[in-house]
Assembly symmetry: C2
Homo-oligomer: 216 residues x 2
């Protein structure tokens, strides 16, 4: 029964495959070889074949991969054949921006509610859904079987909100707060630490400058 665990390195590449295959599909491309895909995506053909084979044989010798089939299969692996309900906790700039971002819907992520502890924001509609007070958070998650909570609140608040969400039955947290959350195994956490990302960019700017001044 014990399926071999797929490494997060592989998982991390799946969305990119999914994107390229979606584009190929839209262009009407029917089949593609690992070689052609590797040139398009700038990765090795070997890696592509290894990655896909983690999930079973999607291709055919002498033919390659059927674009549409492979696209659908990767979608299923990513769970995109199902819908996922989500709420946003924190109706500040970022929370509202994510609430208004329509593209998540297209992938089956359904925006169900948004919460804030600031009374001035409560009632304000975000994409037609009024901001709810924080007091209603746990009951709302329970009543509506919410799967994903998006945390766009300051880090001080994030830890305690996570602690409330877990017993309410949340299954996953998409964490934009700049703090590491400690949740039980079984609750998935995906961090988006924007300032970390910006720091990496900053490092690479500095490094490049240094390299090019040294080489003089």
């Amino acid at each position: 029964m014990e399926e071999k665990e797929i490494s997060q390195a592989v998982i991390g590449r799946l969305p990119r495959y999914f994107r390229y295959l979606g584009e190929l599909k839209d262009e009407g491309v029917e089949r593609i070889s690992s070689q052609d895909l590797s040139e398009l995506m700038h990765v090795t053909a070997s890696q592509i074949r290894q990655d896909f084979n983690n999930f079973g044989g999607f291709g055919q010798q002498g033919y390659g991969y059927n674009v549409s089939f492979l696209y659908d299969e990767i979608g299923k692996i990513l769970g995109l054949d199902q819908t996922h309900s989500f709420i946003i906790v924190g109706a500040g700039n970022l929370g509202q921006a994510l609430g208004n971002y329509m593209n998540f819907e297209r992938r089956g992520f359904l925006f169900k509610g948004i919460f804030d502890q600031n009374p001035a924001l409560v009632g304000k509609p975000v994409r037609g859904i009024p901001v709810r007070p924080m007091e209603e958070l746990e009951q709302f998650v329970k009543d509506n079987g919410i799967e994903i909570a998006v945390l766009t609140i300051p880090k001080a608040a994030a830890v305690s909100v996570a602690e409330k969400l877990v017993p309410a039955g949340i299954q996953a947290i998409w964490n934009f707060a700049h703090v590491d959350l400690n949740v039980p195994a079984g609750v998935q956490v995906e961090n988006v630490h924007l300032s970390d990302s910006l720091m990496k960019l900053s490092y690479n700017i500095s490094r490049y400058r240094q390299e090019n001044s040294e080489d003089k």
Copy 2:
């Protein structure tokens, strides 16, 4: 002269060290051993020492690491001892949210301008800075020596905007558009693909469910 290249795996961990050290510093902690830090951060002490030693010896045998010193050093490595000017291209929900996000300033990232091709948005102030029309983008980058462009525009527009930014002298692109940008070496690109992140989360939800239904 050839410095040994630091792997991106190491770079990717630096912001997290920086965050923990900043918190320790704020708490008034003066020194910490790799062992103690490893327990706090849930990584191995060995990795911590290896990571730091990529940049030279920051510690002292028998003592550990001076928190404040190490914090400053990592800040320097990340280029946070210098300021970086940035502009935002795309004044939609996400662009405005990032413009209003104050915390970047604290790390030396200075918000210099915001652009949009929608005439209805032009002139609208975002954190006191009026949205400029796209036509002014290149000249503005040149005139103000802008280092970083934040792309919060649809993917179709992102590729052509990047092609304009490069000759205008942009040094780095923080790319929120869901597309891979092809820029010359020397222009740093850091991608924030939110939907990819959400797909990973979705995968982990599905995987966990499967594992726990199989084990029944």
